[in-house]
Symmetry: C2
Subunit: 292 residues, 2 copies
């Protein structure tokens, strides 16, 4: 399907993509670049990439498929650096967790080559980072959200859709803003809440003793609070408006429940809890609605 | 160790206690009572209890060990019903998730027999309720919090400690108020937050579509929102003061992080996230401090 994958960022997401493409026979050769030369070397030693590139531009040279798998904040500089070698036949994708910001950065960086760019967000990951944990199975049965814009070439969107599907992903298409609102609600806000909940506990005099008593419910609830600080700082900063809107809405719902507890409003509180409980009990990860 | 266990409430917690006691050879006979006769019958059929009692009082008759494993809101009425057969040699325990409320109810119900009562909260459970899921291993390696008061007989506290230890539990002793503050922070508030977070999503026009996109982070974060509404309504109502204090403190921490996001306070936000992330990464469930 593709002659050469130019991989920029040989971490967990990029490395897994390379392994999955190779296993599926979708690329003949992978040329990789990472900011840290030792990461690039390690990726080659592990067989994740076939050849090390000395720059992002060199990784794109001769590649008909390019995946940018760098922190969201580095997307614009990366796209600017490689723009000169992007043509209308190059399929260029990213894997960033926010999309409005990425699309805006891509518009500024790519200009007339914007049509080759298909913004992607694979809904997957691991607790651990780094090319050592790259996994050819990472994308199987996982949702892959594509957020094309008006300038996106239909042909490239089709190629991207077919490629992710061939890797086992379930492709969903939506606008960058709809994507960012959805993930502010179901991912970014839960992370923000989990960070704030941990901090609220440890700032109390007995906080550490409280933590010693926490059980499995707390373990699962707070697991995402152990996530990488830099990654989450950047996500919060790039998806600021949507995140703040979701957080305010959440606080209003929390306050309403507090008032019911305070006022011993049994019926109201039961209704709130029952609604949440029934919703969560019926929810299954990756649930598909008919006709979507 | 004991002649007869009188089990009041043959659900998951009570049934598991009976099975564990029998397997450890700590009781010769188990007489059980549940509000629903079909539950009591099922418990006998499953071998969780040896004999069905027609009332809570009948379950206590002839028992030197009594476990009250009913919803917290039913504790006072249950203790009043059995008080006449409690003697200074009866070890009487509960398994309620809140303790100030239970201790106050016990004082009112038991009066001069208060010394026989050792308030307990085993930090364990399952997603599923009912005697069908009773499990003799439920208490192994789990924290068991005992919250004795001044009137508690030292001899009964010692017997309770030895009993739970013999079932594999790790016994911790603290005051009822310290218990309630700790669990407001690490259990009750996380549940309240999870309920409010689900409701905040589904009250948005696109809420159900957002939920379809949620991944493993959301799955774990929100798992406790599927908990039993009645149980959690009662816990929130009985631990009102401590829960509202914890919730307010959490909201203040959340708002502080929102302000940093709004003001693009990079250093401040990084510091908040890094502190939470390092704390959660270092945390292990049931961590014991030396000397406790």
């Amino acid at each position: 399907m593709f002659e050469q994958l130019g991989l920029i960022g040989c971490g967990l997401m990029g490395g897994s993509f390379a392994l999955a493409c190779k296993r599926a026979g979708l690329v003949k050769r992978v040329v990789g670049y990472s900011k840290s030369p030792s990461t690039t070397e390690r990726a080659r030693q592990l067989g994740v990439i076939d050849q090390e590139a000395s720059s992002a531009l060199m990784a794109v040279s001769g590649s008909d498929l390019v995946l940018v798998a760098v922190p969201v904040a580095a997307t614009e500089a990366t796209l600017k650096a490689v723009k000169g070698l992007i043509t209308p036949t190059t399929l260029l994708m990213d894997v960033g967790s926010t999309k409005r910001d990425v699309v805006d950065a891509a518009r500024r960086a790519l200009r007339e080559q914007m049509g080759s760019f298909v913004p992607c967000h694979p809904i997957t990951g691991k607790e651990v980072a780094g090319v050592e944990h790259a996994d050819a199975n990472l994308y199987i049965d996982q949702k892959i959200v594509l957020t094309p814009v008006e300038k996106t070439l239909t042909a490239q969107l089709k190629r991207a859709t077919a490629l992710w599907a061939a890797l086992g992903g379930k492709v969903v298409t939506m606008s960058p803003d709809a994507h960012d609102a959805a993930f502010a609600a179901v991912s970014h806000l839960p992370h923000l809440i989990a960070f704030a909940a941990i901090n609220a506990i440890i700032r109390q005099p007995q906080g550490n003793e409280y933590l010693d008593l926490a059980g499995p419910g707390f373990r699962d609830f707070s697991r995402i609070a152990a996530s990488d600080p830099q990654v989450w700082h950047d996500i919060f900063a790039t998806n600021k408006a949507q995140l703040l809107e979701q957080s305010q809405f959440f606080r209003e719902n929390l306050l309403a429940m507090e008032r019911m507890i305070e006022n011993s409003d049994r019926a109201g509180l039961m209704q709130q809890i029952a609604q949440a409980s029934a919703t969560r009990a019926a929810w299954h990860m990756g649930a598909d609605k008919p006709g979507r």
